[in-house]
Each structure stands twice: as structure tokens, then as C-alpha cells.
């Protein structure tokens, strides 16, 4: 479904992503792991168009998307959440998700019908399935950090993606919230038939959820494989587990 081939991205002299490779098959739950600064977030920004690669290819369903702007990539069926909470703080929780649903339904530019009567059912369904229904009328900026991270995911679901990319979905969460969020991710993958690509630096999270793991180190891909292959790989042990 998604192939990342030998992608590079430098900021000045610093090679943030240096020959990364990644393959995501339909229906899979794929994790990207690596220590802080390994280039995970940069890689995701390259896939979703926030950044454009210096070289290499990003192919989604047979089409090179490496030089498309973010809104085009979103329309191709890739939605994402952000590591640092990135919501619409002055809108309500409902409004946050509705913006995405309206965009998905190509209704963002309608001038006269009242927005409050549009896309309401879809928005409610999403809030229901992530468990934010009871906070629908709250101002998003006033939610707790954990709820804001969940709202992040809910906004991404508003685009009815085929591939959902989650950038450290449990960052900054308490252990209880983390467990609940992992359950939610697994449930979404099942119920919505989503393909999910996410990154984490917490190993427990990754091994609890992922079917395929790609390990990044200093911008390079060390290996991509199933849990066993990754655990047994020497380079990975040296680069990642060695420090622990």
C-alpha cells in the first residue's frame, strides 16, 4: 500500500532522514521505532507532505506522492495525528472533528447552508467510537492532555483514511491512558478496517500492538520485520537495546 524507498532529507548539514525504507501492507499495524532524534517524525512529515524529500520515492497505491502538498495527500487517503498536540484550540471538540469531515465530504467551501446541520452524524459517530461524545461541546483547548491526544486521532478519522499515521499517540500520557489508547488503536484497526502506521519510543507499546516493526537509527533504516526478527537482529540490539 505504502512504499518508502531510499528517502533522504537534510536540514543544512544534518541528515535527519538518510536512506529510509519502509513498506506498509493493507490491513497491517506497522510501527517505526528508534531513539529520540532517529528521524521518525521527519519521516512521517515527509510521507504526509509537511516536508518534501531531497531524494527518494514515496509511493502510495502505485502513485508517487513525494512532491504533493499535505491537502492533496490527505485526499488520497492518508490522514495523520501529530506528536505535539495540534488541534483547533478555540473550536469545540465537535467542531474540531467536523472540520475534517466537511473537508472529506468536499463541503468546506459551501457558503450558505449552516454548518451545524452538516456532517453531524459522521462527526458524532467518530466521537462515539473514540469515547469523547460527552465532551462534544467543550472548547478543545480546555481538555486534558490525554483527551487532546485522543481528539488528535478523532480529527484524523474524520478524513476516513485508508492509512492512518499516528505520531507517538501515547506521548505524555499516564500509564492508564496509555493502556486505554492502545486498546482504542487496536479496536480502530479492527472495526474501521484501517491500516495504521505509528511511531513510538516506548518498546512496550510497540510490542503490544505492532505486527511489523521498522527500526530507525540516525536517519537510516536498520531493519523492517516482524517482532521476532527485530528482537534477534544484532544491529538493533547494539543501537537500541544496548543502551538499556
Amino acid at each position: 500500500m505504502l512504499q518508502v524507498e531510499a528517502v533522504n532529507k537534510s536540514f543544512g548539514d544534518f541528515k535527519a532522514v538518510d536512506g529510509a525504507n519502509l513498506a506498509v501492507e493493507k490491513g497491517e499495524l506497522v510501527a517505526v521505532i528508534g531513539p529520540n532524534g532517529a528521524g521518525k517524525t521527519t519521516l512521517f512529515n515527509l510521507i504526509t507532505g509537511q516536508l518534501w524529500p531531497d531524494s527518494g520515492k514515496i509511493i502510495f497505491r502505485g502513485e508517487d506522492i513525494s512532491s504533493l502538498p499535505p491537502y492533496e495527500i490527505c485526499k488520497k487517503g492518508i490522514a495523520r495525528s501529530f506528536q505535539i498536540v495540534n488541534i483547533f484550540p478555540r473550536l469545540t471538540v465537535f467542531g474540531n472533528v467536523q472540520v475534517a469531515v466537511l473537508s472529506q465530504q468536499r463541503k468546506s467551501s459551501l457558503l450558505f447552508p449552516p454548518a451545524q446541520n452538516l456532517a453531524t452524524e459522521e462527526t458524532r459517530d467518530i466521537l462515539e467510537s473514540v469515547g469523547l461524545s460527552h465532551k462534544a461541546t467543550n472548547i478543545a483547548g480546555s481538555l486534558s492532555h490525554g483527551d487532546q491526544k485522543i481528539l488528535e486521532m478523532a480529527i484524523a478519522l474524520g478524513n476516513e483514511p485508508e492509512l492512518l499515521i499516528l505520531d507517538e499517540p501515547t506521548a505524555g500520557m499516564s500509564p492508564e491512558e496509555t493502556t486505554a489508547t492502545l486498546e482504542l488503536i487496536k479496536r480502530l484497526a479492527g472495526e474501521w478496517g484501517l491500516t495504521i502506521l505509528f511511531c513510538e519510543h516506548d518498546m512496550d507499546v510497540v510490542f503490544a500492538v505492532a505486527q511489523s516493526i521498522m527500526v530507525m537509527h540516525q536517519g537510516r533504516t536498520l531493519i523492517q520485520g516482524n517482532l521476532e526478527e527485530v528482537r534477534e537482529n544484532r544491529e538493533v540490539q547494539k543501537a537500541y537495546f544496548g543502551g538499556e
Binding site: F82, P113, G141, I155
Partner: protein, 325 residues
């Protein structure tokens, strides 16, 4: 179709104000009728700016240009051609919107302050052309004695005409703000990066907002000509644009009606303090300083907060954000 868009509770005071405004002209002295009509025109101008400024956080610093383009277009058509006057009335807003499209097309490539600076430069260019082109625009003399047909030539009739157009424009602006277009615009204001990530073409959306805002500024320009019967280059000068920005901030730029409150205060100050001293801007300066310290959300924002306690949490968050950005 529009069920639920309009809050019935807010309809009562609005209706009361409307009825008072309807019965005022026969009772009031001519001068006051004129001042209220000036407030109407200025209010529409401020409302049009606030569509992009307050609801879109697009720093349209030189909005007066489009007001001037609308006014000059109708003035030129009425004085230099024999076209029927309704063509002039329609051409004004269209010319303003086209100018908005042209300038906006360059400006949306930049963000925030850079947008504002490029806008001031390009707008000043249009001002300079109008100011210098004596044979066509009358240069710094402007155009005076623009003929109005009998139904609009008396002050009271002009007052009613302006009031009706203002009401229509306000209803349309309100619907636009409550539409998917408006809510997406406010989402872009809050977080353009996230909007792109959910599939919104941010620049195109902003450009569309600018075209709509400049169209309404053009209508305000036409109404100015109906009221004054003359145009002059000051309409396109940056000082006026700055005043309109201040009206939005003064009245409350995150509220719907705030800019009208701001426009009323500014016009009243200019008129009544202006009688005693030519340094009325000194009073304005003091008011602005007080505003920044005591009413950061503007006059209207302050009152709405008093009325709706549940909005407080959002407002707190808002001022935090303003400090952060």
C-alpha cells in the same frame, strides 16, 4: 434550510435596534441622521474587514483600498459614462473584489506580518495611481458632485437605502460565517498547518475569503458615494485602513457585531471630540491603551463574556494563546 442558525434570544435586541433606527431620521436633526448614516457605511467596511481579520487571522492591513476602488468605480461610471446607475452600483463591488483577487493572489503566498506588509505596499501602489492620475481620477481633488437619481438624493432616503443594504449585507455575512466555509476559515485561523493535514487547501480558502471581504468593502464604497456624492484619494490611504483595523480590535474582533461597535465609537469620537480639538486621535490613543489593559477582547467581547459565563474558559485559553503567538 437555515433552521437553527439564528439564535432567537439575540433577535430581540437586534430587532429593537432596527426599529429605533427606522424611526430616527424624521425626528433627529439632519446632522445626526448624517452621522448615523456615516456609522452605517463605516460599520459595513469594518465588518467586511473582520471577516478576514478576526475570523480568518489574515492580516489585511490595507483594506481601505478596496473601499476606495468600489467608491471610485461607481463615481467614474456615473460621471464619465452614460451607463445606467445600477450598473455602477454592481460594478463597484465587483471591481473591489477583482482588486482583492489580484492583490490577494500575491499576498496569500506569505504569512501573517509578511502578508500585511506586502498588502500595504501593493495597496499603496493603487493609492498612488489614483492620487496622481489627474486626467482620469481627478488626482488629489477627487471627484465631486456625483449625480444621484431623485429617489436617493435626499438625505433621509439615502439613509434608508444604506440601512437596508447594510442589513442585507449583515445577514449574508452572518450566514457565511456560520457556513462550512466560515467554520473552516476559523479553523484555519486557529491552526493552518492542521487544516492542510485534514485536506483543506488553505491558500485557496484564504483567497476566497479575501475576495468576499473585498466585495463587501466595495459595497461600503458604493454606499459612501450614495451618502457623500464625492470621492477622494484619502479613501485608499493607509491611515483609513489602520482606523478600520482599530475599529475591529476596539469592538471585539472575535465577535460578530464587534466591528460595528468599534466603528460607532470611532466615528462618534472623530465627530464629537473633533469639534473641540483637532487632536482627537490623542483621546483615541488613551482609549486604545485602556483597551489593551482592560478589554483585550474588545468592547463586544467583554459584554458577551459577562452575558455568557460558560464562554470564560474559552476566553482564558484565547488570551493565553495570544501571549504565546
Amino acid at each position: 434550510m437555515f433552521r437553527g442558525t439564528i439564535d432567537l434570544k439575540s433577535l430581540w435586541p437586534t430587532g429593537a435596534i432596527f426599529i429605533v433606527l427606522l424611526i430616527l431620521p424624521p425626528i433627529l436633526p439632519r446632522f445626526y441622521t448624517y452621522i448615523i448614516a456615516v456609522i452605517f457605511v463605516t460599520s459595513l467596511l469594518a465588518m467586511s474587514l473582520n471577516l478576514v481579520l478576526g475570523h480568518g487571522m489574515i492580516f489585511q492591513f490595507h483594506h481601505g483600498v478596496f473601499y476606495g476602488v468600489g467608491a471610485y468605480t461607481v463615481a467614474l461610471i456615473l460621471t464619465k459614462t452614460s451607463l445606467p446607475m445600477w450598473i455602477g452600483f454592481i460594478a463597484g463591488p465587483i471591481a473591489a473584489a477583482m482588486a482583492g483577487l489580484l492583490i490577494g493572489w500575491f499576498c496569500v503566498r506569505l504569512t501573517r506580518l509578511y502578508f500585511g506588509m506586502l498588502q500595504i505596499s501593493l495597496g499603496s501602489l493603487i493609492w498612488a495611481i489614483v492620487f496622481r492620475w489627474y486626467s482620469f481620477t481627478g488626482g488629489d481633488d477627487g471627484i465631486h458632485g456625483i449625480p444621484m437619481p431623485p429617489p436617493l438624493s435626499s438625505l433621509n432616503n439615502a439613509y434608508y437605502f444604506i440601512l437596508i443594504i447594510l442589513i442585507i449585507c449583515l445577514v449574508v455575512l452572518y450566514l457565511i460565517l456560520k457556513s462550512p466555509f466560515g467554520s473552516t476559515l476559523e479553523a484555519i485561523r486557529d491552526n493552518p498547518q492542521r487544516c492542510e493535514a485534514v485536506g483543506v487547501n488553505v491558500r485557496r480558502h484564504q483567497l476566497m475569503a479575501i475576495v468576499i471581504a473585498t466585495f463587501f468593502a466595495g459595497i461600503a464604497g458604493v454606499l459612501f458615494v450614495v451618502l457623500e456624492g464625492s470621492v477622494f484619494p484619502d479613501l485608499l490611504f493607509w491611515v483609513l485602513s489602520l482606523e478600520v483595523c482599530i475599529m475591529c480590535l476596539l469592538g471585539g474582533w472575535f465577535t460578530f457585531a464587534g466591528p460595528m461597535v468599534g466603528a460607532s465609537i470611532m466615528v462618534a469620537l472623530r465627530t464629537f471630540v473633533g469639534i473641540y480639538t483637532e487632536y482627537w486621535t490623542l483621546v483615541l490613543g488613551v482609549i486604545l491603551i485602556l483597551l489593551i489593559f482592560f478589554l483585550p477582547e474588545g468592547v463586544m467581547g467583554y459584554f458577551l463574556e459577562k452575558v455568557k459565563p460558560q464562554a470564560e474558559e474559552g476566553a482564558e485559553r484565547r488570551s493565553e494563546l495570544d501571549v504565546a503567538s
